[in-house]
Amino acid sequence: MSITNSVIVEDRAQRDGRRSIREQHTDSAGGLHYVDYLAEAAANVSAIMTARVAKLESTWADAEIESNYQRALDQLMPVLVHSTLAQFRAALRARFRDATGWELVRLGKFINSLALSDAQLTSLFGVSGVQLTALKTKLAALASRYDDVVSQVGS
């Protein structure tokens, strides 16, 4: 999602000459986002606002990817408003490299559930042939381990 419009809705001097600023950013879904700050007296707030736009979009994407990773661990599909499916999959790959223990099991379960094709797995993990087979086996094993754990009940 991108920002379609940005305006300064408040630019009001404070006693010491600094200015109370409110930026209003409208996204492509019509949502309003505000940034408030205290600007120096001579600050070019329009330029600051313009420079912020691209960074805001990037920040939203990063935050959403982080949130979607947690959703993946909870076996929930991602919500893609500010980020793309490709970005999400890339994040999964990066996290899979570093994950251990129960986090790895949960992540493996989720990736396995996506039922990615061999071509997609190759593209995502950069593996083929024997390594691809091993990866698929590992994902299946992690999914099985996850299912085994969550199926346990007390007595």
């Binding site: 404070q14 949502g31 940034v35 920040t59 990063d62 994040a91 990066a94």
Partner: protein
Amino acid sequence: MRSGAGGAGTGADWANAYTALATAFGAKAAGDDFWVSEDHAETQASAMTCNCPGTATSPCRVICVDHAGTVPPVSADLRTTATVSTTGANNLTLNGGAYYYGIAFQAGSGASSASVLAQGDNSLGLWFEACKFVLNGDGGSSRISFGAASTSGYVTRLINTTMQFGPTNTNQFSTIRGRFLWENTANAIAGSTIPTTLFASGTGIGLDARFVGVDFGAVGSGKSLFDHSTKQMPSRITFIDCKLGSSVAITTGTVDGWGAPIVRLVNCDSGNTNYRSAVYMYEGSIVSESTIVKSSGATDGTTPISRKMVSSARTKFYAPLRSDWSDWIQFWDDTTGSKTVTIATVTDNVTLKDNEAWVEVEYLGTSGYPLGLFASDAAADVLNAGTNQTTDGTSTWTTTGLTTPVKQSLSTTFTTTGKGLYRVRVCLAKASTTMYFDPLIASGARQYMIGESGYLNGEAAGAGAPPIFGIGGPLFRAKGD
């Protein structure tokens, strides 16, 4: 430990020192001390995981010292020059409970994404003093991360410890979780590349973060301190007595949900002030204001101050923007009996009803017990249509920038039965509304006010007895007392 040691690697002495942190950790036990030589410069071109054996009851100490000094080391031997690094797209992970002194933890190189992950574990603590966290890779996914999503009950404390990002990528940031405290650090953000947004709370668990006496002066125009968006965990983040960069935004991102992070600012600024406060949350924001102020109202003795409340589109009668998220206005009451609290307000062409804005007081009104009772001038219930709050024909406000000032007062009367603190908050339930209020309460002739946000009623210099300091902050007499 000494990376340049050429001995047996047993850790028995400097000649036979371990050459790697992870190796040393693996050979020792909870509660052990680890001495790291001042010239220890460990580098690994693969992912590094250092599993300190420290536990909650017996954390370890990992301290940089002069290897040519006293054995065992003494205070004069402390150094701050050891480094532990990874290169490439390889993370550096610290697990286990430990106190670290004088070590730089560095991850990545080139264009890679690599993070420093100080994760601890359930119920553990991580303390870093005179340390550095450095991201040398330029990948946008690089993080300085504290705590892990799947752990709980741990604390991280940074003392005189810095962070550095870059070399050129401004999309990196620090992820924080659990109980996080960062104190007493000059020039906290080192290097020439400053992240667009400095902090975000991590997913998985909540965050209770306090930054006290930290110099964030490098984080200025176009930057933000905290991203409180996108389904983050319930968190409270407070900056107290910190230096900020010019024109920095405190928060960025769209707050998403009633349990979203609450970000507070207590006496932090880029200039020579002592009154700047703010809170940002799902219900809206409350910030200190120095232009639209009431005559003979709140002041630090030099600068008159009010509070500007800006409600979000989501506030409701049962979920208003409440000023106690910034600070309660608190009084010590030496006398019992009937009292009236009145708050002066002003808006721009908005006449507020009592189901849209009101004052609430929590007071001691139960004889024999310190049980708080509440008094309010809010509408009787959620279905009440509401009546206009009282027009304030007495107060004089500076209303520069307001086209049609509307002055009203919020007032309630109650009877106290015991000596003690009583606390006042202002509630704004009307959505998407801006209201200014004067936090100086007209409640009798003598008022002592405590606020974590600092000055509410400062005595002018030389105007009378000095302030009395009490619990939670300074007590100030109202002007004219």
